[in-house]
Amino acid sequence: MLGCSVRVDRREGLELGLLMPANKSIDRERRNFLEGIAALILGAVATVTPLAAGLRVFLQPLRRRAGANGVGFVKVTFLNALPADGAPRRFLVVADRTDAWNKFTSVPVGAVYLRRTGETRVQAFNAICPHAGCYVDYSAERNAFGCPCHNSTFALDGRVADPRSPSPRGLDELVVEIRAGTEVWVQFQDFRTGTAARVPV
């Protein structure tokens, strides 16, 4: 192709007598430009293909819908295990869990604080501090929840107790159901930490 175009140039050059060298250099410049563009585009296509295949897999977690890690209602304990005076107690939440390729049956998926608010009424909080995800402790002396990481404190009803607490919201309350009269079931769910709004993860 190159030889062909040069030959045409040469003939034109002969006819016009003068223009050949100028024409050739303009032609060459244009061809270089087009070749450069083509090299860039084709090279980019070749490079991007494997990169895109990898990124598609890598970015998969972003396509997961919110709340997908919820395990639904889980039987946590019996009413009798909760002190009548309303003092909170911590319980392990044991449920079935899917972790990528594995399906686990009856494994710990988190913890909750349960406290009695009436004869058959129970309040439940996710034990995770909404600030940065540490597990909060209940202190009987202070009668409040305290986070060991950044000292957020929460009242028994879950609200932020001390305005100096870094936590952007109170403890995350979970839905409780009393089934068969004595069984305490909790709709277990984790929430995004660090935000004022409660967003299921």
């Binding site: 270089n32 450069g36 070749a46 490079t47 990898g54 897999v57």
Partner: protein, 614 residues
Amino acid sequence: MKGLIEWLDRRTGVGTAWRWFFYQSIPGGARWRYAWSTVLLFTFLVQAVTGFFLLGHYSASSQTAWESVFFLQYQVPGGWLLRGLHVITAQVFTVLLALHLMQQVIGRAYLAPREVNFWLLLALLPLVIGLSVTGWLLPHDQKGFWAARVPLNLLGILPLVGPDIQRLLIGGSDLGHYTLTRFVALHTVLLPALTGSLLGLYIYLTRRHGLSGLVQPAGQVNPARLATPESGSSAAYWPDQALRDAIACLAVVVTVLFVVLRPRLLGHGQPVPELLGPANPAEPYSAARPEWFMLWLFQFLKLFPGGTELWGAVILPLLVVLVIALMPWIGRWRLGPGFNTGFMLALVAGVIVLTALAVSQDRTDPEYQAARRAARIEAARANVLAQAPTGIPPSGALSLLQGDPLTQGPRLFARNCASCHRYDGNDGAGRIPKEPPAASDLKGYGGREWLTGLLDPQRIASLHYFGGTKLRDGKMVRFVTKDVAGFSPAERAQLEQVIVALSAEAQLKSQREADRRDARMILEGKELIENQTVRCTECHLFHRKGDEPIGPDLTGYASREWLMAFVADPAHERFYGKKNDRMPLFGKDEVLDARSIGLVVDWLRGEWYQESHK
């Protein structure tokens, strides 16, 4: 922007290096064949990129390697494509490297001052083969597991250091967690780092010496080269050669994509790359072969009888490498270049012949074909079980197959039952034994059809039922061949009801619908059995206690419990008692454990997980 680049260049020289790379003059102008080194680098980078993303989805342990690869291949959208790109590009890389080496020999590119370029290329080959071998094992499927064992075992025959190297690679004496973790470390860190460094050095040196073989040892221009018509002028790398390089790289990507996508576009054939069932150290996969580009070595090793493997696996390959490494000097003789080219062509011819032999031998080997088929069936089954709602337990996918009646039943049957019994005329695993059966064919055992045949005067004494056993001369056969043969049409109708009722005792999954539909008929049939109309209870017990029955108790006949007890102890008085023929007391004599008996029984009864078709 320009200022920033200049600032950077003054401190790092990056701009100068850039100009050196892109505006270097190529003597004789751009050529397609100069694209090789760029394509090699590009292919390596594709492997690095796809490899990084694969590593992000891989878990190296005996219980998670296959499982994580399976998950990527079948559950993560696009995972199959990523894996396909990596596996096929690896093969392309090896082939390109070997071809490039060929090209360098034929083009005499090894001559001074390019000896080191040539050696670098030669050193890359074993590294790339090492990458392949470590890569095979990682999916931890039957193919990878058994194919990786061969190079590992060959290492063991190296004198002095062999066993130790083998032990180091395996991470012990058996393939396990440490083999996988060590292979991952080699495959993703050490070998790529070495390959990348050598390749970078190679490309730097080719650029340093100029791309072609234009410069002679004495530093004079090679007149033979200049005389070629296209080499009148020299041109900068950018953009002429760059365009050629880009097109060549794109061609590699398109080729790889074509290979990976072809089975999907055609809608049939095995997915590329295939993933067989999880590695099972107790079930050898006899059809395990190295990747196709290494088949020649596999075939070559067959030529060496026991005790001489060292020659085939180590000494001869090393000699070949040595000859190639010496080519820069051999090539200085008058006939040297001809010898070098001839040597390489002979090697290629040898590789082609050996590969063709390996392929054709496997193609005509019925055992190889049977092993392939069995492995594919097992892979499909592992796939179904792993995608079942119960999922893969922490003990791994192999445990799913081990507890699966459809997988284990035929194997146990072939090993323990098929010396007398048959299953649909074969040994359960698809092979037809030479000896005639000595006991009944158990396909559909307890089903209506099977019982109809048993109570057929023409068939009961055939080899399909009692023909091969001592029972051929027993009361049951006499009853069927004499009495049943003389049944009136009314009695025959009653017998049909009895068959339906007796078959319902088995509670077979395949008859669940029919049993529900014929509930009334079953009830009447039961009554017919109980009040002796068809005379079963003259010899058999049926839903009542009694002493010293003549034949097996028909209560719950062919149900799971009944069959488990029967296989465990057929000579129990509930079954054949003293009249038991040659059937071993599998449970009582501890030939099989209860789990194995359960697997055979469940398989015979058709009780296994089936995917629900939407």
